[in-house]
Subunit: 151 residues, 2 copies
């Protein structure tokens, strides 16, 4: 639990982290959805044409997992994070289709010291995936706990 | 887009669906997390002991994906669902550890007809995973759109 690159002090409100890019293929979209979210518009290109999406779209759980992995690579796995209580306002803001290229952006919304645990702090984030047109495709807010930098 | 078992009319407030059970193994927890959420307390049993979790715990994205799959099997893939705008209040309410047995419970919180699209309706849900002790391990609220039953 020592020697991290990022501690709570490194996440002031307004700081951003970016990561990516990643192009999602039709095969990846179908493979993920077959295991975790086999709705017809995620696994069957023919059937998807008859839905309001008009074609195959990635499962929100797929793009959410991709976002989580980019978060790990952007800052989390070099941080003193000790967990998260949850996620709010997760929005599937724009459909993600085969060939779309996604990149990750994290913004610190709020950072505060823990009232009960003097060695920890709390950070509230906005996490987003943007597509190749710069549109927000996925957004959510989430909270994480971090150890404070040892003095 | 016809011949579904469940249409919007089949989801009145208070209706519940259940599915499962599924035991998560240590190998499954590590495999999922190596791909999508390689934080030390999800992939490294030794390192996890030194964290506040005191041992390996499943990624929230893993249990979330498991919940999504149980939802598909419980009602969604037999329904007229046309998508979802998002998810709120996702809480990692209790750690999920190797050997924990999870089951799914869905409860309709609210159902209303669409004001703009007369062939559709909107359903707001509480979705949960409960462990073998009956504790809520994962909970969230989410909204889904469904076609209304053809008259």
């Amino acid at each position: 639990m020592s020697g991290f690159r990022y501690y709570w002090e490194d996440f002031p409100a307004g700081r951003t982290f970016e990561h990516g890019r990643k192009v999602l293929s039709e095969a990846e979209i179908i493979d993920f959805a077959r295991q975790w979210d086999p709705q017809r518009f995620h696994v069957d290109p023919q059937a998807a044409r008859q839905t309001p999406f008009g074609g195959l779209v990635a499962s929100g759980w797929h793009t959410g997992c991709l976002m989580m992995r980019m978060m790990c690579d952007a800052y989390l796995n070099e941080s003193s994070c000790t967990g998260s209580p949850g996620i709010d306002e997760w929005r599937f803001a724009a459909p993600v289709r085969p060939g779309d290229e996604l990149r990750y952006r994290a913004t610190v919304l709020e950072a505060r010291a823990s009232a009960s645990k003097p060695d920890r702090g709390i950070v509230r984030w906005r996490w987003e995936l943007l597509n190749q047109r710069g549109e927000v495709a996925v957004s959510m807010t989430g909270t994480q706990f971090f150890l404070r930098r040892p003095s």
